[in-house]
Amino acid sequence: MSHHDLEVASRTDTGKVRPYNEDSVAVDAAGGVAVLADGMAVRRGADVAARIATQQLLETLRTQNGTAADRVVRDAFAAVNDAIVREAQTNTALQGMATTVVAAWFRGDRVFIAHVGDSRLYRFRAGQLERMTIDHSFVQEQLNVGTMTSSEARDSQSRHLITRALGTDEAVGPDLSEHEIRPGDVYLLCSDGLHDLVDDADIALALESLQPNLDLAATTLVHMANDRGGLDNISVALVRIKARKSSAKPAAREANANASAPAGLFGRLRKLFG
């Protein structure tokens, strides 16, 4: 059902400071899904929360056909939230565990992007790197209302305070957006262990010079973050849209394009805290 072939690569690394890796990544090229989560906990279970999120979202989304996509994604996120809350109720040592999530779901000519927290998705298209998600973070809120400048945000002590995470509440939902995909696009999902340390220009440079070799690009992004201190766990998932298969018949392609949800269904990157 997917008209575009995808190529994927992913890496997750403990970094150079933390004792454990509490990130989780799951990718499935054939299923058209990439999911990345950055777990956190009051005591224990950060890794548990992250793994529940990536595994459950991958399993759910890979088998769905992309109709009523916004409902499917919202339900899937709600189910993950429930699963984390339930797990913490049955095992009290895990109470207070939560996770960020960013997911990219490729169906037909479109990608559905959903996220909670400060894990991000970037799109690299025609040499330009564009951030597709707006962090649910204290610093982002300060930027939105103007109480902090972007240079202050960069060095803020509050950099790691996030305002939304799965597992914290009975009703936590993702921000959703839907976009057309093009052959040659590269999508990067990453945890803050990357974007906190490696600036956009260097991320773009890595994707520009290495994208024919996604595995090498993924490894290199992790190296770059480690060379800048590796202060946190570092995770990346890369998805490249390969050229359309020549076997796809124009008529069939058009029919499916019409069947998929119209653009702007989710609204593009709404202002979060207006």
């Binding site: 300060q142 400048t149 960069r154 509050s158 010079s209 024919p212 060379d227």
Partner: protein
């Protein structure tokens, strides 16, 4: 907990924890930190609390507010900063940095956190925050072109990656802390000193010759970096 340690001419005058959402500094008696000196304005400067951060603002003082020798109007305080108001030196000590060093742990907060009103003159749109500033001592080196370009020309390796080759045969050089590496990106593997390399990043040594896609370069690595 962060505090301000006030001294004058190397004499310690006192210290004050930053507890409220706003701490004022000036000559007038209502200030939290009162500095009795004619060169200090009545309302000279203030520290605002934004989440876990402390932002120092000059309140249009006559003689200015300086941080680490530079005149500021607005400044995010970092541990060890020295604020100068007239002859007074106010050192910013951030115990969270000193004691826990745990500023890199991700946490969820329950909003709202103390957020003062938007000060005038700040951009209200939300630019993408750049990655954190960090000083990194990368290896230093340059390439000398042997073939496939201006022969003999030199290219400083000032960015993390440098692309080599063309068309279907491409490689890249990666700059890291401990030196430089080369890897095949696509097509035939590059040759280092005449030998094809294995996949993945392979370490380079000073004066190695690298050939890929009709290009040949020699790397010069500065060991003194």
């Amino acid at each position: 907990m962060a505090k301000l340690v006030i001294s004058r001419n190397d004499t310690l005058l006192g210290s004050r924890f930053i507890e409220d959402t706003r701490l004022t500094i000036g000559r007038a008696s209502g200030n939290v930190i009162q500095l009795d000196d004619p060169a200090v304005s009545k309302l000279h400067a203030q520290v605002e609390v934004v989440g876990n951060d402390h932002i120092l603002l000059d309140l249009g003082s006559s003689n200015g507010t300086f941080v680490n020798g530079e005149r500021i109007s607005r400044h995010l305080l970092r541990h060890g900063d020295v604020v100068e108001v007239s002859e007074f030196k106010i050192r910013y000590v951030d115990h969270r940095t000193v004691v826990s060093g745990d500023g890199d742990r991700t946490m969820v907060i329950d909003r709202p956190v103390a957020a003062p009103q938007s000060p005038p003159g700040l951009v209200t749109s939300a630019p993408i925050p750049a990655a954190r500033t960090s000083r990194v001592n990368y290896a230093q080196g340059m390439l000398r072109v042997i073939q496939g370009g201006t022969i003999g020309s030199e290219v400083a390796l000032t960015r993390p990656l440098h692309a080599l080759g063309k068309d279907d045969n491409r490689a890249a050089i990666l700059r890291r802390l401990d030196g430089f590496y080369v890897a095949r990106v696509e097509g035939l593997p590059p040759k280092v000193n005449g030998k094809q390399i294995a996949d993945g990043w392979q370490p380079l040594h000073n004066r190695d010759f690298i050939e890929v896609g009709g290009e040949a370069v020699q790397i010069w690595i500065d060991k003194t970096s």
